[in-house]
Symmetry: C2
Subunit: 447 residues, 2 copies
């Protein structure tokens, strides 16, 4: 059996786990790949327990929307949101988290504030419709009218005043929020997606520099976890594409097989939205910018976290040609997600025909990993598959390490540790493996 | 200045930070407290930046619903959800996370599946209403009809089949999910709350033992983070209170000043909901229970995480009488949240009239803490308040430690560390403080 690397990117190794991490970048691309890459990616999402089976879910996921996620999808999203959150918090001390309601309108307390009552009355009065048409139109109106938020920006603008006391009315500062928001889709129903939003309030004098600052920082962040960083890129938004009210904009996009899609929008919004939200009362919203009282300018930085899951999955999926003993060629799919993002860090296996003692050692070690905060996969749920089949499965799931507890482990305390990225097996003593994984994860965090 | 403890509970100290942790339990209750405890709690939520200002938010929060949260509320909820998640995952290896849509109906793909079209037609046909009445009734119908989920159970029951392959059709296993769900409230609009749900599929033979198992484990969990654990209690649900389809139930309740409220419901639901969800096709949903193929029984364990935030805030709020220099009596409010839950672990202050050098040291240390994953508060945003006033504020926010970087720090590298729970100040070298906090947090996690 041999694996043929055809493209190799070297990265500097800083520590003892450098050998593993560098190997993430040994990339093999199958040149004559007849499979549709989009279909393969979506199949992998389902096979690897990222996305629930069913066309409706893979369709939603491909469109950058929330779908029903499986155990690995849930963990990947959690890891991504955690990284986003800590990066935003660490980038500036004046960033504060908030959370606002997804439903309702706090001013009126009504459930459907945007429901157009006038429109409804017109429909009820109109003579040109028969009964069925009228019912249809009313239903359509309802689906369009919504009490569900369509962005996170508006909530932050409304909450701006509440947190002025906290920052002693001093610029700049930011309000960060992650959560669902809801977009009406073509059919009149609504699709949900998870967004991560930073609304940054700054001096009008420096708003353009701040936009550049955040665009630079954010692109760095996206690329930090990428296997092929160049697939993530940023570009200035043309004047005719600008969101209403925006004077400048930057997009961070990802090159999917079917074209570029936007992962993140950065807008320089001026002060008009903030003024409008607070009824134009300048005195209420003014802040010190170090020199004088000003109405701040608003920079909005918002990422679609569902689409970013797919971007990282696509970015880290590698196809490798592999020959088995009989020189039969087949393809190995490996999801080389960044160690920090990988939903499962280690899978624990026992092999077929495991004894009760093996199972006990396996369960004990699993518990030790979970207690240490290491996301571990209970291989003991599948005791019928061969080791080879399990490794193929774990590679598709993006599991960093596989450990096998065999009969030998019971005698000598030594187990086999296989790395996803190198496919190399090493023997380690059972007392060392937790420490090894913790050091590995610490190094990966500092990469 | 002296603080009079009137009630002291001792806990075993296991390590070097035991002294700090034990002091969390030195409780002083003011006996003649004329302030309404509910009002005081809600005021504290706003003053401590947990809940956004405004009656509408404190009202929602008191009712155990989502409201607009401030920076500390966001962190507290995150910490709570993280603890719930890791506890559920650690408790059993066969627990898998899922996430399901909050909107829509996956079968029909419609936005408003539950909208009662027949009812709408009746309203359109009815002669007994005038125009205004008809519009009103239609609006009411809309608000009642919803495409938003009202619980997390149904999603897990629907997803059950998708994850059978994952567990090789072997019982028991569980599907865990956290997220928003939406309850119609009295006014016809909808209130949202964050729930954490475990749906446990098990053999019919052992479902009653599993209910007891989870009820015991969950109560332990609630009490683990409590200052006064006895305020959290569990009780069997009476037959007339049982949820439809449930054969048994257990409630975990908290004693608020205004009465008991339910934090968590545990239901033993039999197999009827699962059968109904899958059209009664037994062959599709059967699993091995170790002996034979059975239709599993369902245990539902669901907690309201918004209400649990309030429970822990109430549980950890302590009032202490304090005399100032002139023997004037005033009350000190301290939010002694468990170190694991406390949203801010350390606040960094500089005192009034800080030099540029002090600020640089302060910012550097703050960055060091944030990089190490320690939630730190930038005291530099408030440089006008006195140290005494800041400490009062930090106690209300539940900040574990306050560190002051003064002129002396620049010369000797020594800073003052004040503990929330002991109010004792200690000198520590700046090179030690990060290690101290990390050891403290590790010990708190293992408590």
């Amino acid at each position: 059996m041999n694996i043929e690397p055809t493209l190799s990117i070297r990265v500097p190794c800083r520590d003892f786990v450098g050998q593993y991490i560098a190997n993430r970048y040994k990339t093999t691309v199958c040149p004559n790949d007849e499979t549709d890459p989009t279909r393969m990616l979506l199949e992998l999402c389902v096979d690897g327990f990222y996305v629930a089976p069913g066309q409706v879910h893979t369709d939603l996921f491909k469109r950058g929307m929330c779908c029903n996620y499986g155990p690995l999808g849930v963990e990947l999203k959690k890891n991504l949101l955690e990284q986003w959150w800590s990066s935003i918090k660490r980038s500036r001390t004046q960033v504060f988290g908030i959370s606002t309601l997804t439903t309702g309108d706090e001013k009126s307390g009504e459930g459907n504030p945007s429901l157009d009552v006038e429109r409804l009355n017109q429909l009820l009065d109109a003579d040109e419709f028969n009964k069925a048409q009228r019912t249809q139109r009313i239903l359509m109106l309802l689906r369009q009218s919504t009490s569900l938020r369509t962005n996170l920006l508006q909530g932050a603008l409304e909450q701006y005043i509440s947190w002025l006391e906290l920052v002693k009315r001093r610029l700049p500062f930011g309000l960060a929020e992650t959560g669902l928001s809801f977009q009406p889709d073509g059919s009149g129903s609504r699709a949900e997606a998870t967004y991560a939003s930073l609304v940054w309030f700054c001096s009008p004098r420096s708003s353009s520099q701040w936009l550049d600052h955040w665009a630079r920082l954010r692109l760095q962040w996206w690329r930090k976890f990428a296997l092929a960083p160049s697939e993530f890129s940023s570009r200035d938004v043309q004047v005719d594409e600008l969101q209403e009210g925006a004077s400048r904009g930057v997009k961070i996009v990802y090159s999917f097989p079917w074209g570029q899609e936007t992962l993140e929008n950065l807008w320089s919004l001026g002060d008009s939205d903030l003024l409008q939200t607070h009824g134009g009362v300048r005195a209420k919203i003014q802040c010190f910018d170090g020199q004088k009282l000003v109405v701040p300018h608003v920079i909005s930085v918002v990422s679609n976290m569902d689409r970013s899951m797919m971007a990282y999955m696509h970015n880290s999926l590698q196809l490798m040609k592999k020959h088995d003993g009989k020189q039969k060629l087949y393809r190995r799919k490996v999801l080389k997600l960044h160690p920090v993002l990988a939903p499962v860090k280690v899978a624990l296996d026992m092999g077929r025909g495991a004894t009760l003692e093996q199972r006990q050692v396996c369960d004990g070690l699993l518990q030790e990993f979970l207690d240490a905060g290491i996301s571990a996969w209970p291989g003991s749920i599948d005791i019928t598959s061969s080791a080879e089949k399990l490794n193929t499965k774990y590679d598709e799931m993006g599991v960093l390490f596989t450990m096998v507890i065999d009969e030998n482990t019971l005698e000598s305390g030594v187990l086999q540790v296989r790395s996803r990225d190198t496919t190399i097996r090493e023997s380690k003593h059972i007392s060392e493996v937790k420490g090894f994984l913790l050091r590995y994860m610490r190094a990966a965090h500092n990469m």
